[in-house]
Symmetry: C2
Subunit: 351 residues, 2 copies
DNA sequence: ATGAAAGCGCTAACAG
DNA sequence: CTGTTAGCGCTTTCAT
């Protein structure tokens, strides 16, 4: 059975003996079409299974009703949630989603720009790789609004929607300090990205406020493999190795804050191997509240990220830019995360 | 600074005093253009930052170089991996990805069809919701090839690429039996989908082959919340509740196979609360090999799914259909998963 | 080797 | 209210 040729306005017009134009207007819901004709057209369109051709429309209207979403890695649970939230909100507003994965690679990122440009998306939501280059200015210059997601590009005046990582890290750090920690270490990704920088700042602040020592040994970096097509953004393995080093220090910390929940898994293992107990010997706080975090043993206290809000806000802001009515001053929105205290920082009854 | 108007072939043609046509051919790499002219055109295109308009091209060519990907939930780690693999392979072949999230909802799924049709994707890779309706036949009828991903639609003659769930479940079950289990329970999703059915079949087979009893109490269903926009596909909470019931049976099983690794988390908790140890008292095998599975305590034995292969194969098959040269007989490809034995089924040295 | 003309499907502007 | 004309940017005949 040969595929049914795609129907066009022409088909409807012919069989109803109308002009293409009238059919177009009838379907578009414009007035200046008699209700009778409109009904006729609608019925016929329905009958033959007419589906409008977006490309033809976009050619004349200049809008495709399509947003670009550029993500570094969909296997990052937070990004998975963001994809979900953004697709949902975009669709609710009538927009489709063109997804591009940059894999933390600047090369792919540059191609992504090209890809978005060709397909003429109306706007783009982008988690920038934050390498040496910033290819996103080009998109913007071509009249395609760009909203940065989660990671901001410092010194770049552009719209941004993300999480207040600084606040999150501060909350986490203050939490363990309130639980009696005196020697706290922060385990962070070694990517040169704003999220990390902010968390380090938040950590440092909290330590300073509490009058606790905080030097270069207080922040340790877990090597992140960039430019490798890794299924997982950060591997607990790497965190495990780093955790071992920390725990074997003569001045072993009594609390560890980690930059993402995956790291906590590696840390847990290193702790278990040394017979160290959580939270009795070492308090642990994660970042991200990934789906598994509540169910590890002990349940991981962590900072929950407002994925729904961030995703929806990014879409909303982008759409405002697309409509173009609003003040063009770049907007920076950070949503507050929430500390979720669980067993890994729970004060046990001293029985 | 007003956005730069998008450049067209016309722009290049004008400034070089050529016809649009020649410019088109020069850029398209056709012969019948002098090398000199071609170089000139290329340089000018580069200079003014020309980017081809995909919509215009698609209008005449009928191809957009775009694939649709319809996923039920990106927060499912397996689907996240598939998105990654598919985007990668698609891009390598020059295709962009239009992502639609169906959220396990038949309504959204129906709209997805419409969305894909409008945007005129060249083909679609689809995880079907498998409800009462099958809207995908329509796409196919309109000449848009569809490849089902992960879940097959029984009785529907269409291309399919996925995992051999039956084999996976058999491997998992045989594994615990080989480790001495005599009373095995399978915890499964309660969705009426082929993946679940296959796993139940594999489980049943393995039990039968070993001469072990397998009745309706051997397979328990974990309620799945459909039609709710849940960040997580299956919540360990639900599994936890079900696990409690199983473990409190007078004839408590000595091994549990779960349909996905998230369930194992809930099961672990129920076990821990009862003072039951893994693997000593109960063996546990998961399904999916999610990123956390290696790092829970004890490390979870699980069935690793070949996401890269499945994703790539789905793209390849779809592209074959798009080119349309191949035999149109529906192809069903299932890739073998791999059992990854870990601590949760490890025979401890009897010291 | 290059140009002119036609048309992909649709919408906007202008007539009637 | 409806039809005609024109054009979005590109590619494919068909000429030259």
């Amino acid at each position: 059975m040969p595929p049914v040729r795609r129907r066009t306005l022409r088909d409807i017009a012919d069989s109803l003996d109308l002009s293409v134009n009238t059919v177009s207007r009838a379907l578009a819901g414009k007035d200046s079409v008699s209700e009778y004709t409109r009904a006729l057209v609608r019925a016929e369109a329905e009958r033959i299974g007419y589906v409008p051709n977006l490309h033809a429309r976009s050619l004349v209207l200049g809008s495709v009703m399509m947003l670009g979403l550029v993500i570094t890695n969909p296997s990052n649970p937070f990004y998975a949630q963001l994809i979900h939230a953004i697709e949902l909100r975009g669709r609710a507003k009538g927009y489709s989603l063109l997804l591009v994965v940059s894999d933390e690679s600047e090369e792919y990122e540059a191609r992504a720009v090209d890809s978005l440009l060709r397909s003429g998306v109306d706007g783009a939501i982008v988690v920038p790789v934050q390498g040496e280059t910033n290819p996103w200015g080009q998109l913007h210059r071509m009249g395609v609004p760009v909203v940065f997601l989660n990671r901001d590009l410092p010194g770049v005046e552009r719209d941004f929607v993300g999480t207040d990582n600084r606040l999150g890290a501060r909350q986490a750090t203050e939490h363990v300090i309130a639980r009696g920690a005196r020697s706290v270490v922060l385990m962070e990704e070694d990517l040169p990205i704003t999220t990390v920088r902010e968390r380090v700042a938040g950590f440092t602040e909290a330590m300073a406020s509490a009058g606790l020592p905080c030097d270069e040994r207080s922040v340790v970096r877990v090597p992140t493999r960039r430019d490798e097509q890794m299924a997982l953004p950060w591997h607990p393995d790497e965190a495990y190795a780093v955790a071992q080093a920390i725990l074997d220090r003569p001045d072993r910390p009594d609390a560890v804050v980690v930059g993402n929940d995956f790291y906590a898994l590696g840390l847990y293992r290193a702790l278990a191997e040394r017979g160290l107990r959580v939270p009795d010997d070492v308090l642990v706080v994660g970042f991200g509240d990934y789906p598994f975090s509540e169910f590890v043993a002990p349940p991981l206290s962590t900072v929950r990220l407002p994925a729904e809000e961030v995703g929806a806000a990014a879409v909303d802001l982008l759409l405002e830019r697309i409509v173009g009515s609003a003040d063009p001053t770049p907007l920076k929105r950070s949503f507050a995360p929430t500390l979720v205290p669980r067993g890994s920082t729970e004060r046990r009854p001293t029985s």
